[in-house]
């Protein structure tokens, strides 16, 4: 089973995302200018600053050749996980509801956050129970979620005291109505190894993705 990881100019978390994927599947590097998804069973859009975040976060990346294919893949039900900048891109692409605004205090923040699982109706959280707490690092300047999202599509919320960016209703991650597309601001790919991640809770999202992608 193969999971693709997209690299745009300005992406910086693609290497960690491929390392995380390698724990559950064969990672395939996808390039922004190449619309060929190389037969992958799922796609990860990693974090970074695609196209320099010019104009608006995620606004330019959304029109890259690879995204045309990712959008078609997602509409056919393929699992797509957007992390941080990837989440912003999926919102801009209209695959996920809402948008990400600058953090309420306008600062770039890097810290460990606790998340609470709100829904297990996505491949990614199928390895979790509702109410499970995941400890995962977050690092971003534009992670303040706003949007008209049905509560059943809210997948992750910041635990009490952990919503540092001002997100509406403590929302940290959302899915589309079908559940096959999910985005979150914190970085599960940085929490897949106790040696470097502080926790390995992030791995559960990749395990869930791989489990459903193979089914």
């Amino acid at each position: 089973m193969k999971l693709g990881v997209v690299t745009f100019p300005g992406t910086c978390d693609d290497v960690d995302a491929r390392l995380a994927v390698a724990k559950v599947a064969e990672p395939i590097a996808l390039w922004h200018g190449d619309p060929d998804l190389h037969g992958v069973d799922g796609v990860v859009i990693p974090g970074g600053f695609s196209y320099g975040d010019y104009l608006r976060v995620g606004a330019i990346a959304r029109f890259s050749p690879v995204m045309e294919s990712v959008i078609a893949f997602a509409r056919e039900g393929g699992p797509v996980l957007g992390i941080c900048n990837g989440f912003q891109i999926l919102c801009e692409a209209g695959l996920l509801p809402g948008a990400l605004l600058p953090n309420k205090d306008l600062r770039f923040v890097c810290r460990q956050v606790d998340l609470e699982v709100q829904s297990t109706a996505t491949p990614f959280t199928s390895t979790c129970e509702v109410g499970d707490r995941l400890s995962i690092p977050a690092k971003h300047r534009s992670g303040c979620y706003t949007g008209d999202v049905p509560s059943e599509q809210v997948v992750l919320r910041y635990a009490e005291g952990h919503n540092f960016n001002g997100s509406q209703d403590d929302i940290a991650g959302v899915a589309n109505a079908q559940g096959n597309v999910m985005g979150l601001m914190p970085h599960p790919e940085h929490a897949v190894d106790l040696l470097t991640g502080g926790s390995a809770d992030g791995l559960r999202l990749f395990e869930g993705m791989a489990r459903v992608a193979v089914a």
Binding site: R56, A59, G98, L101, P102, N103, C144, G147, G166
Partner: protein, 76 residues
């Protein structure tokens, strides 16, 4: 034509940049300032001005969180 597109945060959408500026001005001695909002300005030459609205909705602004206003700088 040369067009100017003004993009501003929609009413009710959190605008931390506006809030930061609103707080900074009194600190410099400028009183009586309120309702500050910070947006973006895009200027462009276009051959077909009928495409401008579409350009705004698809790329220049995100209609979920931003309002836009198209102005004519110089008619062709």
């Amino acid at each position: 034509m040369r067009a100017r597109v003004l993009i501003r945060p929609k009413a009710g959408i959190l605008d931390p940049q506006g809030v930061a500026v609103e707080r900074a001005l009194p600190a410099l001695g400028f009183g009586g300032v309120g309702n500050v909002h910070v947006g973006r300005l895009v200027e462009l030459d276009v051959e077909d001005e009928s495409q401008l609205d579409d350009m705004c909705r698809k790329l220049l602004a995100n209609p979920l969180i931003e309002d836009y206003e198209i102005q004519t700088v110089t008619a062709s």
